[in-house]
Each structure stands twice: as structure tokens, then as C-alpha cells.
Symmetry: C2
Subunit: 585 residues, 2 copies
Amino acid sequence: MQDRTYPEFSTRYPLLVTTLMKRPVSLYPEQIGVVYRNHVSGEYTRLTWAGWHERVCRLANALRGPLAVSPGQPPRLGDRVGTLAFNTHRHLELYYAVPGIGATLHAVNIRLSPEHITYTIRHAQDRVLFVDDIVLPLLEGIWDKVSDVVRTVVYMSDKPGLPDTRIPNLIHYEDLLAAQPPEHEWAYLDEDTNATLCYTTGTTGLPKGATFTHRQLYLMTLHILAAQNMSNTPAHISREHLGENAVPMLNTPLFHAHGWGAPFFCVFSAQKIVLPGSFTVKGFCELVQTERVTSVSVVPTIAAMLLEYPQLHEYDLSSLTRVGVGGGALPLGLKTKLEKLLPSFQVSSGYGMTESAPAAVNAFVKKHMVDWGKERLDGVLVKTGVPMPGLEVQVVDEAGKPVARDGASIGEIVMRGPWITEKYYDNPEKTAEVWYDGWFHTGDIATVDADGFIVIADRIKDVIRSGAEMVPTVLLENLIAMADFVLEATVVGAPDPVWGERPLALVRLRPGHDAGATDVVDFLFEHGVQTGRITKWMVPRLITLTDDIPRTSVGKFNKKAVRDRIDEYVAQAVDVSEHVGKTQG
Amino acid sequence: MQDRTYPEFSTRYPLLVTTLMKRPVSLYPEQIGVVYRNHVSGEYTRLTWAGWHERVCRLANALRGPLAVSPGQPPRLGDRVGTLAFNTHRHLELYYAVPGIGATLHAVNIRLSPEHITYTIRHAQDRVLFVDDIVLPLLEGIWDKVSDVVRTVVYMSDKPGLPDTRIPNLIHYEDLLAAQPPEHEWAYLDEDTNATLCYTTGTTGLPKGATFTHRQLYLMTLHILAAQNMSNTPAHISREHLGENAVPMLNTPLFHAHGWGAPFFCVFSAQKIVLPGSFTVKGFCELVQTERVTSVSVVPTIAAMLLEYPQLHEYDLSSLTRVGVGGGALPLGLKTKLEKLLPSFQVSSGYGMTESAPAAVNAFVKKHMVDWGKERLDGVLVKTGVPMPGLEVQVVDEAGKPVARDGASIGEIVMRGPWITEKYYDNPEKTAEVWYDGWFHTGDIATVDADGFIVIADRIKDVIRSGAEMVPTVLLENLIAMADFVLEATVVGAPDPVWGERPLALVRLRPGHDAGATDVVDFLFEHGVQTGRITKWMVPRLITLTDDIPRTSVGKFNKKAVRDRIDEYVAQAVDVSEHVGKTQG
């Protein structure tokens, strides 16, 4: 055996999700690692890393044993295991146990329509479903349409006992675990074994299931941590949200693009992880206070809900040193209020998608910006950022050439790299629509400025084509949202006999403000046209002030639904053409 | 083409060394990225990232073109390219261009004996050698013994023109680059392509060539950056040595275990990299002042040289926020002096070896230590540390079982993971001696304490077997070195008719101190026996006070050479048996 080498333990040591989990268990077995607050009952579950890991081991044994879940062998996927669950310790256990045995985790997006939920379960062919007690009614509602696919349903609840239900052979999660041995030898799987299946929201068609392997998720995690380390930290920005002593609260649902990666990089970092079930304002405040949470990520809507909570002042939120806001432009008024409440509040943007797992473009402080003041730096931190290290991201014109770095030339974002999905599961047609010429095509439109910052301008399908020109709607929306009398805004194309389409702005005012359509125009001239961000012809001539704007399951504006009701919105609109015409740009 | 996917740009996107280099070039093309000071002439070379990268491209074109260097195809290595060079911008160019075209970089350890240098060049079969002007005489001295292997020699110098030499067909590096186009399309190589060949120092035999692939070096880099991000930062420890605004000076020779990884992680981090040629005290001080260096790593000997430099006070060293000391225990007196000179000085230890590329075990601040004071924390930061994230490191007994975490049970360090060498090049016998039972066996002896910190006790071959017991010599050496009258110390076994071997301590006193052998004994009792770190029988009975202790090429004590002269050292020794006998433990 003199020429025996071990490539499987050296050059080909597999990159596996289970490796991430082994670190906190080894470093801090007796420390509290996972805290869950049931958002209905208000009850807490606190687990040490060793205690949590023991549950993951029991779950893995249950999956391989009584649940008969089969592992995959690349390129073949293992059995799919679906979850219909909020952010609980159990969901985090499933995040490791299911991929850990070589099977595929399908975290079902329970915010989709029942039709689409049914579609994803059937398309994924989920053999086992794990369902939260409060989500059971949803599953009961579609049971007849998935019962031929699903072999077993496991019921997850803090309370013992099974409910009355028409779903047969329900198993209680805690009973399942209790019957299993507390140890599991984690296999050295092939790193190309599929680990997760994440369905897109399907606003314009059926959801598509992006596939991710162990290697991909492991590499995304490492690159996120490396990126955090390499970015420059201005003196006024705390780093307490990084490192082991950070206490993150995971508000992003685990069924949205891997909860933005937190279930992986927070575990590997051995941070105490706080899980709030589903977001509630009271739960949020209580958890920050009891667990001394240091860092949260929220969408603007949640930030607004928080500020309007009458009991807010009763809580000690002083541990929060990082409140990242993502998923939409942050209105100026909201930003000012947040800064008053939380002095260390830091606005920070990012861009990603289900298919990029999702880390793709992140807010970044370049070397020469490190001494900038807070206001000026905030201007940088809201404009999306630079590509993640290790990922190739380009903005290309229709010939596939990178656009000029002039902050004005518009192109499509394309990318490739270690953690971009290779394909949609069982969907070669849709895969071929995004993967061609060696790049993944995002369908998002952006510009690149001289610093290399990628600024999202629009979705290709949302672009308004007015005459020969394209109106970048996201740019307009973000501009309008900066007005302190505006809560949020969206811009779509309205049919126009002369131009083909003209932009129509739907604007939701902040409560207590009675601005009118011409105020919106004046604001766009002052902060858009005069600063060179937009040209005069881009200013919407039709403005509808309304609180009734349809949303998607993830809380974004649903532009398709708006376009379906376009006549109704045009009828409500104020025509500001005359006012625009006489305003000087 | 509806089922076209791109695994090569997604699931199988190759992990390549060239990716590391692309980041600073893309982010900061016009900023100074690489600064080199010629330690002989004192002249500076300053290159922007774009300028440096252009040179790497020209070099790659030269390697593929006139130098006819062939790429490898796993498992076959590409042609080996040797370097005999100090830390210069050219050496850093070779670090990227040679692996970048799929060939193997062999950074020859020019501190080895001429015989061993000859051996490594012949064993690696270096087709091309790149040699610094000041190293040329060394190559001329062994030329007759390597000329049948080496096809071409490239001469690297800041000055134009070729020297008079008996080496035929010498090519000047700058002429070679000037003749090439400034662009190179970096190939998407197989990530398993071999990138480097690093020979061990061979203190007890012939050097062995540890092999590393692109994937291995890329993954080590990512894990180092992730580890930096995840470690806890006490308030008194600055993080300014991390992130892009850090300015590291690379003192560790690039021919030692990848210069401890700095040529990879500092480049990926887009830090301004300062290269001092070979270390000189004047060069060190001047570069810190002119480049505002923030971070250096030094061995204790260099720290001592620095403190004794008469002109030290003439330099502004205030930018230095991180002086890591590695490669040996730091004497207490030296530590106190360094702290006076550099208030932000931070002692920090690590453990690694050529075969681990070298990151393996690193100093670490655990969660509960983050509020500790500096003195107490220093006690933690000098005791090696915890395994690198993503690496499996264990201390095992002779049956291969992990030893108890009691800080006393001794075992061998074994490891496995993504960047541990798979094999010694063309040396299956030596490979089989270290790789068996699924683990790489380091030959180093250690204990593990309750916090999981691995504390190096000894090399297996240096262990003193006294009766049925093993005396951990490194532990004794580190203890003795803590005495403020001691500069450094080493402990070896001296033949003993009763016990087989008894420990002999060779102690080098600090200049101006006239302590005697019994003072060493008293110190060991007070700080070793009474604190429970050692037992009374481990205290050496023979102590030799001497300045004449042989060293290896990397500056460590050469215990083999000491043992070869053991009779001489025993003759000089003071027998302290009686003093030990009457001292109470």
C-alpha cells in the first residue's frame, strides 16, 4: 500500500453543508446556539449547540429509517423533502438533516397562491412534507391535489398530540425524534449531491425550481464570510454584527432563497441564532430585548410597521447595532425616523435572486470612501454595490458586450460562478431561456458607474418602451420614494396612442401628508432632472395617488397585476402633462 | 440546444488561483497595489494593480511562448518552474503567472544547503529557473549539477543588462516581458491542476515536495478570510490589519510554505502589498514609514533585531497596528519591550506546516474571552489555538482515538481537509509514512485543553523518552523562554545509563543578564511545577548556558545537529540534580 493517497480527504475533500454545522457543535457544545420564540403562544425554546445537533442527528436517523428517504447520487437527486414552515428551530434542523443524508430540501414558499403551492409540491414530487401546526389548514386545503405524490406528513408543533385532520397517518415531529438514537455519522457525500430546490415566485408564470448542490451552498457561505472580512469598515459602522458574539435574528423566511444565506453563514460563525417564527412587531421587540439581538435584516414595510408600534418605547432595543434594510428603496422619511430610534442603524442594499442562492451583488465601501461622512456614505450604500468576490457579474448590451461604466448606459445583468444554479429542476426549456452563451441571464436591467457599482434599473419585462426609448421604472420608483411625503411608489407603462407606452406612477402617501400629483412632479424635477439622474421626458405624465397597489407573495409590488388593472388606474390618475410642460428641467 | 446547461460556469465552476488576482484588478486598477523595495539598493518599484497585472499577463505569454512551458492535465503535473528569489514584485508575478498557465511553481528554498537545493531542483525537474541577481552566485555554484535538467535561466534584476556568468543563454526578465503582448486570456483550468510544489526543509532527511492544486490554494485562502471574519475581536485589538485598507508587509519568504498564504489572501483582499526583498532592519523601518504599513508577521529573532536597532527612534512606526509574532515562543522580556515601542502590538500564535499549505491551527478568542484584559488574553493567544474552520484536526493516542481535553494527555496531531497536501511529488514511500488510516500524520505532539486549544508539546522524533515517560521538550522550551533573563532555549535528550535519556537544556541568556543554571531551575519550579504545567521529574538536571546553538535554514533550532554534538554540550553542562532534589515542587 505504499502508493496509497487519500484524495477524498485532501484534494477532493468534499465541500458539504454538514461541515458548517460541525464547527459550533465542536467549539461551543454547552452554549445556547438556537433560540426560537413561537409567535402565536409567545413560548421560548432554547437549545445548546450539542442539544440542537442531537436533534439534527435524530432527524437524520428518522429520515433514513422510518421515513425511508433515499439519498441521491449525482446527477440524480435524492428524494425531495418539503417543508411548510416558518422560522423555527425545527426548520433549521431540517436545513441540515435533509441535505446531510443526501436528500433534497424543498422549503415550500407558503406565501404563494394555493395553486402554485400545489404545483411546486407536485413538480418537486415531495415524498415527505414537514408542516407547522399553524400551516396545517393550508395543507388540508390542497391535500386532495397532492396526496398521490406525498407519502408521509410530519406535524411540527410545540404542543404534544395530533390534531383532528383528514390527512392520514400524521406523525408528530417530536415523537419521531424521540424514537431515534441521538447520534448520526454524517456521510462524506459527493459534494455535487443536490442539497436544495428553491422555487421562484413565478409572478409571470409557473414557479421554477432552482437546484443547488452542497458544494454550491458551502462556497456561497465561504464567499459571504470572506466578503464581510474584506470590506472596509468606516469608523461609524460597527462590526459587532459580525463574528461569534453577534446575535442575529432571522426575519427573512427560510423558504425565501435560503433565508438569504443566514442559516448557513450564521451557523458556521457559531453565532447565537434567534428565530421568530413569522414576523410580528411584538415578537421582534421582545426577542431583541430578551436575547440582546445585535443584527436584523428587514424590508422597508417591516421597518414602517415597527415605527408605528405604540408600545415600541417600552422595549430596550439598545443591543441592535445593525439593522440592514433590503428588498426595496428606503423612503427618506423612514430612514430619518429609524436613525432617531436606532443611532447605529445602517442602510445597506444588496441584489440577488433565488437562482443566485441568493448572494450576487452587495453594498460595499471602497477604499477611498472609508473617511466619508455618514450621509455621503449612505448614498453609496443604497445603490446596490459590487459583485460578490469569486462571482463574475457583468452588465451587457444586446451584443453581450459590457456596457460603459458611465452610470447611464443600460444593459442586462448576467452572471456565472460557483453558486449560480445550474438548472431548473426538470425544466430544460426554462433553463435554456436563462443559460446561454456561457452566462446566466437575470432579466434585470442595470447601469454601472465609474466605481463599478451596479445600479438596478428595471426588470426587462417591466421596462416601459416609450417611443424609441426605454424608461427605467425602478430608478423612477426609488426617486419618488425619497420624497418625505411618499411611503412607496411603483411605475408601470400605460398604453399611449402616440408613444406606445407612457409611464404611470402609482404613489402611496405617508399618513398625515396631503401632497398632490404636482408635488411628485416637482420633487422629480428637483431631485431627478436637475441632478442628472433622469431626463425630463422620463417624468410620468400620469400620477395616481392610491393605497391600493397589489403585491406579490414576498411583499413586492406585483406589476403584472397592476398592468391587468391598468384601465382602472389610468381612470384614477391625474394628468400632469401641463405642469410638466411648464416646469424647467 | 434546449437542454444546454453550463456546469463549468455553475456547479463545477473551477476554483482557481487566477480568480484571486482578478478582484483587485477589477476594483482598483489605477491604485498602487504592489510596492517593492530592493533591500540592496534601497530603490522602490511601485505598481498599480493594472500595471502589475499587465506584467503577469506578459509573463504568462512568455511562459507559453518562448519559454515553451507546458501546462498539466490532472493527475499529470505541468512543467515545473523554479524560482530562486526573495520577496519581490517579480516573485509575486511568478506566483500567479506560472499556476495561471497550468504549470507548477517551485519556489526553491534558497536557505537550504547547496546539496539540498540541488536535490530539490533535480527532483522537481525544474525546466526553467527564475533567479534574483543577488542569488545568481548560488546558482552558479551548483550549475554543473543541475544544467542537464534546467533548460532556461531567467535573470531578475532592477538593472538592465546581463552579468558575466558561466550559465549559458541567460535571459533578462524585463526583456522577456517587454517582448510580449500585455494581455492574456486566463484559461478556465481544471481546478485539480497542480499549482505549486513546496519542499520541506528536510532537517532529518532529504526534502520532500508537497503538492498543491489550484482548488486547494483557493480554498485555503477563502477559509483564512472566513476565519478572520468569524473570530471575536476584543475591544483592545484593532481590526485595521484586515480589510482593504490594511497595508501588509510580507516578511515571510515566499519560498516558505506559500509565504504563510499572504500572496493569496492579501491579493484577494485588494490590500496594498509591501515587499521588502529580504528582511533588513533598515528596510523594515523605512517601509513602515513610507508605505504606512499596518501589519507584519515576524519571528522572535527578527523582533529582537528590531529592538536593538540604534536608529529605531528616527522612524515613524505609528501606522503599525498589528505585529504578529509566530514561529517560536516569545520571551517575556521581548514582549514587554515590544509593547512599550508599539502600543498596539499583539502576540498571536499559529501552527502549520508546509504540508498544510500552511494554515492549520490559529490563535483564537473564544466568546467568553472577549471581555478579558490584555494580559489574560495574551496567555490564550500564545497557546497556538483552534483548528481552522473547515479543517479536521485531532490529537490522537497511539490507537488513533482523540485524547482527553484535559491539557495533559499527549497525542499526535493528525489532520485532513480541503487544503492538506495529497502527496509528496514522486515519493510514494514518504507519502505512505504520513498518510494512513485516512489521516495525515504530522509527527507533532500536543495536548488539548478544555477550551479545545491545541498546545504543541513536541516533535515525535524530538520527544525525550525518560524511563517509561515522555518529556515534552517544546513545553519546557517555551516555559524557560518566559524567564526575563532568557533569550531562547532548547531541550534535547542526553544519554543516561539509568533512564535511557534525561533532558538537557541549552539556554541562551539575554545580553546583560548573568543568571545561572539554578535560576533556570527555580524559574521552572515557580512557573512550571507549582502551576501544574509540568511535573518535577521533567525538570532538566543538565543545563548548558551557551550562545552556540545550531539552527536550521528557517531559523529554528536544529535539534538533530545538537544531538550530533551532544557530548560536547554535556561536557559544558552544569549538573543541577542536587538543587532540583532539594527544591519543593
